[in-house]
Amino acid sequence: MPNFQAQVLVSLRPSVLDPAGEAAKSASNRLGVPGIKKLRIGKSIALEIEAPNESEAKKRLELLADRLLANPVIEDWSLEVKPSL
């Protein structure tokens, strides 16, 4: 059965205040890197999955992202899947 590599990106919904992002943004000024207009912190989750085909892999990973990796009350997520080399 083929393997697929996947990445799930989890970000706070735009309407949710991100104090950690704000803190990092203010630190970027102190580092002397000017011009940072926006900084929001999320998560990247790397996965490898064995599945009969890519659409089945995607289906399982969407369930995982929606029910475990992200909390839809506060977070959005996106998924990329590709065959393992």
């Binding site: 706070l12 205040l17 104090p19 803190a23 475990l68 009350v73």
Partner: protein
């Protein structure tokens, strides 16, 4: 009949709750290991504070899948009482037994303090002994206690009269000053403040007692 206190790996207020319910109030109390499914003889359940499963992924996100919680969902369906305190509140929102979510405090710090609260609803048994607007003080101790929900959920909470407690002076940026909510049925209560830390007069105040007393009444 006893009060059950769920113990997850990383719970750290489980013994404080036991001291409050058993030591201060004299109620029979048992620990419930997170892997059990057996709630025989348990009348009410407390999900205590702490860092269940290290707070990995998100606070309460992994605890939600503990075997004991499968049984607690049925327990709640039977109309029995469940109180989630701090991390326990986070677990209840992740599980979907309470609406909303608890996220990082607005002001970049962990808050450990006594905080003034006011009763916002007397609809459920938890606060029926108090008056609307009545103020009392409980300790809070959290880094991720900012209650967040959508505008629609907030309207629903208001419509259902499910906002149980509000902060008098909002310490963490919570929507609508929310410190505690109940489910629509009223048998599940989630609180960020710690009533179990305000039950023994020698450690400062007994304002938390009435909340824990309602577990067995």
């Amino acid at each position: 009949m006893a009060i059950g206190i769920v113990v997850f790996p990383g719970s750290n207020c489980d013994r404080d709750v036991r001291w409050a319910t058993e030591g201060c109030l004299g109620y029979p109390t048992r620990f419930l290991w997170h892997e059990t499914r057996d709630l025989t003889g348990i009348e009410a359940i407390v999900l205590p504070g702490g860092f269940s499963y290290g707070d990995y992924l998100r606070c309460g996100a992994i605890a939600r899948f503990a075997p004991v919680l499968q049984s607690i969902v049925d327990f709640v369906g039977e109309g029995r009482k469940v109180l989630g305190i701090c991390n326990g509140f986070q677990v209840l929102t992740e599980l979907g037994l309470l609406p909303g979510a608890l996220i990082k405090n607005r002001d970049l710090h962990f808050i450990c303090d006594n905080t003034l609260l006011k009763v916002s609803s007397r609809r459920t048994g938890w606060f029926s002994e108090r008056q609307i607007g009545e103020e009392f003080s409980l300790p809070i101790a959290h880094g991720e206690g900012r209650y967040h929900c959508s505008d629609e959920t907030l309207l629903q909470l208001q419509e259902d009269d499910s906002i149980a407690l509000r902060y008098v002076s909002n310490p963490n940026g919570s929507v609508a000053d929310i410190a505690g909510v109940t489910n629509k049925e009223g048998n599940v209560l989630g609180l960020m403040p710690h009533p179990e830390r305000a039950c023994d007069p020698i450690t400062g105040g007994i304002d938390g007692r009435t909340i824990l007393e309602t577990l067995l009444t």
